[in-house]
């Protein structure tokens, strides 16, 4: 009688207070500071993974791989600029700051991009000779902080990108913590060594679309109307931002979704502000079409682009090109499991390492520490990036040929279906197995 056991429940973890959440609370309680980290949103959001291509069928015939051509080139900035940017592939390297990245890492990005026939981009902190020297096509970012900004470098650029926002932190500035401020970084930014460097979230000398138009005029006058001017916006209000950028006279719009990486910002910002990349393409393309500017003003999409499939999907939804940041760093060797022991020492694991702002990157890429930097070989890094860009391009071509397209730009929304209702609504392509998506005109939904 007495030894009958009372059944106990198994310990149950909360779906609300997960281990991650609890560790955040403990960290906040212990430090009193919000968490700052690099990278993009880690939460799962509707993405290009929720889209599939249908490929060819009786009504659409495919192109023969390796025999029938599938072109990949793209021209950016032909609308107003005397010298538009001609790229062999529609995959560009996104702006990443010198300061966040080491000089050799910037060099490797230039080497890899140039070998693959594409452009690379400066970032907060200005232009370094390494990246100018090794980049055939270099886009110069014009940022709110204007760190290192000068007209000589501006005139050395092949295009200018006015940065209004970044997908990881729409409406946020930047912070490079003191420990990463080497003599060289401090000198370029005209600040004392070892102090935190805040980057403003707004441009110091213009606000709003009317001012932007005048700012673009000034930059064009200073560079003699030669080079294209891009405007980079976060994926916040893509229809209106794209419309306003075009009306202000941009040659290209760079649109960055919330999965997009950053060198460092508050985790709460990265995870809770902005829209997923999948959700921002169609409204931006709509804006271009409404103004009769699709394919005249180029749309460059970024935020979580990883593979040729992502490239093909972005282009099918109407983008002219994509930009990659995080993926390029991984190709260079960031978060490589071969440094697992060292990641463990930093309290993390390969793949999850995101404290780029601390400057202790075992792979020697997101650091200014001379010893760590030595581990990274820019020539080898450049070769790896080139390989990766080539593979992405081949993958995108494989898909395009299967869809019967002789140019990546000929991919279209009609080639796609969505796996989920959310993705169908965001991408405005039918839910797989149906001819319907939420919000489809005329369906009363």
């Amino acid at each position: 009688m007495t030894d009958a056991k009372i059944p106990t429940t198994t310990p149950r973890q909360s779906a609300t207070f997960t281990a991650d959440v609890n560790s955040d609370i403990r960290r906040a309680a212990a430090t009193g500071i919000y968490d700052i980290r690099g990278g993009g949103a880690k939460r799962k959001v509707p993405s290009f993974d929720d889209l599939l291509f249908m490929g060819a069928s009786i009504s659409r015939y495919p192109l023969e791989g390796y025999r029938e051509k599938c072109e990949t080139n793209v021209t950016i900035g032909g609308l107003h600029a005397e010298n538009p940017i001609e790229l062999d592939i529609p995959i560009t390297i996104a702006g990443m700051s010198f300061g966040a990245l080491s000089g050799p890492a910037k060099e490797a990005l230039g080497r890899g991009a140039s070998a693959a026939g594409t452009s690379t981009t400066t970032g907060d902190g200005g232009m370094t000779p390494e990246e100018r020297g090794h980049s055939n096509k270099l886009v110069y970012q014009y940022l709110p902080s204007r760190y290192g900004m000068n007209p000589d470098d501006l005139r050395k650029a092949d295009a200018i990108e006015i940065v209004v926002g970044q997908g990881a932190k729409p409406g946020g500035g930047g912070m490079l913590l003191g420990q990463k401020i080497s003599d060289r970084v401090a000198h370029m930014r005209n600040l004392p060594k070892g102090i935190d460097q805040r980057s403003a979230c707004r441009h110091p000398d213009w606000t709003g679309p009317d001012d932007l138009e005048i700012k673009i005029l000034e930059l064009r006058e200073i560079t003699g109307w030669k080079v294209p001017i891009y405007v980079k916006v976060a994926g916040a209000r893509p229809y209106f931002d794209t419309t306003l950028a075009i009306k202000a006279g941009a040659d290209a719009v760079v649109l960055d979704g919330m999965q997009g990486g950053t060198a460092a910002t508050q985790d709460v910002f990265i995870e809770h502000v902005g829209q997923p990349t999948l959700a921002i393409v169609r409204p931006a393309v709509q804006a271009l079409q409404d103004l009769g500017m699709h394919r005249k003003v180029q749309l460059i999409l970024s935020g979580g682009i990883r593979s040729g499939a992502d490239v093909a999907k972005a282009m099918a939804l109407g983008a002219d090109a994509v930009a990659i940041g995080t993926a390029a760093l991984i190709a260079l060797g960031d978060n490589d499991p071969k440094y697992e022991a060292e990641y463990n020492e930093l309290g993390t694991t390969a793949g999850a390492y995101d404290d780029w702002h601390e400057g202790r990157d075992p792979a020697g890429i997101t650091t200014q520490d001379p010893e760590l930097m030595k581990r990274f070989d820019p020539i080898e890094g450049g070769r790896r990036l080139k390989n990766y860009l080539k593979v992405m391009t081949l993958e995108a071509q494989t898909i395009a040929r299967a869809c019967g397209k002789n140019h990546l730009h000929n991919l279209e929304p009609e080639d796609l279906v969505a796996l989920t209702m959310e993705a169908a609504a965001m991408a405005r392509v039918p839910l797989a197995g149906t001819d319907w998506y939420p919000g489809k005109p005329g369906t009363g939904f």
């Binding site: 204007r146 900004m149 912070m175 913590l177 403003a200 000398d205 213009w206 005029l217 006058e221």
Partner: protein, 227 residues
């Protein structure tokens, strides 16, 4: 002297002519008439020339200036002399917002008043204002000197770094991390030279110096309210 009628010649051709001047140009004196508040006049100059704009200018006159002297014989619009690297800009009238924003070097002189955000994010430029300046001036100022012979508005030098501010009149309020500083002989010397260069007659002893308290230089949670 070369004279350009801006309305007739147009902005592009005007700037093109000025940009074409090399370091050893013989055509060193230029006058631009009929400015009519146009934007981006004489921006991006990079030669030892002197350009006088007759009348008031719009946004970004003298933007990113190198070497040249630009005189504005009128009032100047927003962002005049933004990111100036070297040379000199002299404004006879008043200056609008963001005067000399992010300027890295050179000198800007305003004979009248300057509006809000004067010297915002300044990175080495020297600015001398004979009259008053508006609110939020020298926000995030990194280096260089801002001299104000009149009064300064609210939140002077908010979140500033190593820029120096000399004000002769009153300061309505100081921004976060900006404080009153001691005037040492080296500061008197800097100020004396700047006033001389700006051709402004004022006694350096009448000015008070302000600058960064350097409390926000490295993040500290106890200062969170000031960020």
């Amino acid at each position: 002297m070369q004279t350009i009628d801006l309305t007739e010649v147009g902005l592009r051709e005007t700037n093109k002519m000025l940009h074409a001047q090399a370091a050893d140009t013989n055509q060193t004196v230029w006058e631009i008439t009929n400015a009519r508040g146009a934007h981006a006049i004489a921006c991006g100059l990079d030669a030892p020339i002197e350009v006088t704009v007759k009348g008031s200018t719009g946004y970004y006159c003298g933007g990113m200036n190198q070497q040249a002297t630009v005189n504005i014989d009128g009032s100047a619009g927003p962002g005049t002399g933004e990111n100036i690297m070297s040379g000199k800009i002299v404004i006879e009238g008043d200056a609008s917002q963001y005067l000399g924003a992010t300027g890295h070097g050179g000198l800007i002189v305003v004979k009248g008043n300057a509006s809000s955000r004067c010297g915002i994010s300044m990175k080495g430029v020297n600015i001398v204002v004979q009259g008053n300046i508006g609110h939020m001036s020298a926000f995030m100022g990194q280096s260089g000197n801002l001299v104000v012979c009149g009064d300064a508005g609210d939140a002077l030098g908010d979140s500033c770094y190593e820029a120096r501010f000399f004000v002769r009149g009153t300061v309505k309020s100081l921004g976060a991390d900006c404080e009153k500083k001691e005037m040492r002989p080296e500061h008197i010397e800097i100020l004396t030279n700047l006033l001389k260069e700006a051709e402004i007659d004022a006694d350096p002893a009448d000015f008070t110096r302000y600058g960064s308290a350097r409390n926000l230089y490295n993040f500290d949670v106890d200062n969170a309210a000031a960020y």
